[in-house]
């Protein structure tokens, strides 16, 4: 559904993307995990036509992003990191304008807008101005807007950034439901738990390059099952273990304070890149 070959983007001497190759299958929820400045948003901006590529190619649903740009654009919905809604328009008007941009008929728009507003629990607020909504409502509305024209692919650029934990969980449930209906989802995040909870596969991105791609479970199991954060000569260190027994043996030798926990994607990222994601 998404194919990227040798994608590069430079801003002068700065390489934002340095040769990205990947393939996302239909119906997959693919997470792009990396620290700020790794190139996550740049990738989405190029794929969605907001930024020009410097080199390489990409296809969405079989259509080249530039040579067949208008056809490719009909295939995706985009949720940007910032809430890019028209604050002076109502909830309904925002969705209606979007439907018109995608060439939907009046009947299709009415049916789909009602359906999506019910889906995100905003049907009672359809005549409210967007500026009157809470942050969580606005985020749900941006996702609903991106889904109005029933895209095959949904790009989500840091969809839960700045939201509290409860709202974040609600957005995750919404994303899962969208995927279950067959939509391919390309998600960028720097929240470890978001990638772990949602993704079928995860790509680690660092300095414009993909370090590795695999399922969250496979990435974590490469690192180990258990981690112990402990003090060593005044410095915090982390030790990884494949079994709880190995971890317990290590603990018996510990003289200073320690924390035993399950390995997460942050550990895998740290081990591969020497950096933290968040």
């Amino acid at each position: 559904m998404i194919r990227i070959e040798g994608l590069k983007k430079s801003y002068g001497a700065i390489k934002a993307l340095d040769g990205i190759d990947l393939h996302v299958a239909a119906g997959e929820l693919f997470a792009y995990l990396g620290p700020n400045g790794a190139g996550k948003t740049t990738t989405i901006r190029i794929l969605t036509g907001l930024t020009r590529r410097s080199a390489g190619d990409a296809w969405l649903g079989g259509f080249h992003i530039e040579k067949e740009g208008l056809k490719a654009k009909k295939r995706f919905g985009l949720v940007m990191q910032s809430i890019n809604l028209d604050q002076e328009l109502t909830v309904w008007e925002n969705l209606d304008i979007h439907g018109r941009l995608f060439g939907m008929s009046a009947g299709e728009r009415k049916k789909k807008i009602d359906q999506m507003l019910s889906y995100i629990d905003l049907i009672d607020r359809k005549t409210a101005l967007v500026k009157q909504l809470s942050g969580g409502m606005k985020r749900r509305l941006t996702i609903a807007r991106a889904m109005i024209h029933s895209p095959e692919i949904l790009f989500l650029d840091e969809p839960t950034v700045g939201l509290d934990a409860a709202i974040r969980r609600r957005i995750w449930a919404l994303i899962k439901e969208i995927q279950e209906e067959g939509t391919t989802i390309f998600l960028t995040t720097h929240y470890i738990e978001e990638a772990e909870f949602l993704a079928d596969r995860v790509a680690f991105l660092d300095e414009g390059r993909i370090v590795t791609i695999d399922t969250p479970q496979a990435l974590m199991s490469r690192t180990g099952a258990w981690a112990i954060d402990h003090m060593d000569a005044g410095k915090m260190k982390t030790q990884y273990f494949q079994t709880r027994q190995e971890a317990d043996t290590f603990i018996t030798r510990q003289k200073e304070s320690y924390t035993l926990r399950r390995v997460n994607l942050e550990d895998s990222f740290l081990l591969l890149t020497g950096k933290k994601v968040g």
């Binding site: 969605t48 036509g49 907001l50 930024t51 208008l70 056809k71 809604l85 018109r100 941009l101 995608f102």
Partner: protein, 244 residues
Amino acid sequence: MSGFIAVYLREMLILRRRIRRQVLSMSVSPLLYMIAFGYAMGGIKIEGHSYREFLIPGLVAMSSMTQAFAIAVDINVARFYWHIFEEFQAAPLSNIAYVSGEVLAGMTRAFLSVAIILVIGLFFRVCLNYSAVAFWLAIALDSFIFASLAVGLAMLVKSHADQAMFTSFVITPMAFLGGTFFPVDRLPVWAQKILFFLPLTHASKAIRASAYGHPVDYSSYLLLAIIGVVFFFGAIHCVNRARD
């Protein structure tokens, strides 16, 4: 076609929400000009008409320029502040559909401001020949030029400050020198030669002549149409430049 309607409809919905503020702000300047210049120069006759009769068509030309050009501010706010322009960029919307929608929105604002000026003129007992097709055609061409220029420029600027600078150095001088407040032929010949190249000079001339019921100078209309088409296609080209 639906993309063009979406772009235009969005601007109109926003205009409708702001209509009271918009009408008030569009009324202030012409009202002040009519009070200040209209009364101060009340006794002066230009081309056989009172100064107020001279001023109203000039204000129509100036206001249709400034209000059509003001669409650039809305585009910039949508682009730099609300990031709504990205919604258009990511949609299957052709550049021509986007530019057409924004230009028509700019022209609509211009016609609204013209209507306000004509009403203000009536309060000052100025009623000229507003039924002439040539009068409205000149306004349409004037607003088409500056709305197209606004869209193109909004795509090129990198900040609000750049936009304000262009207004200060180009639009404001043109508003004062393009035949709004005094006849261009009273200026030195060298100045007239420079002003000949400004679209507002021709728009003022055409609007004033048609409002007076004088014979139409088709060369002004042709020139305005050519400039408008050039700016319109320039704006279409500039939309691609707005991408990183």
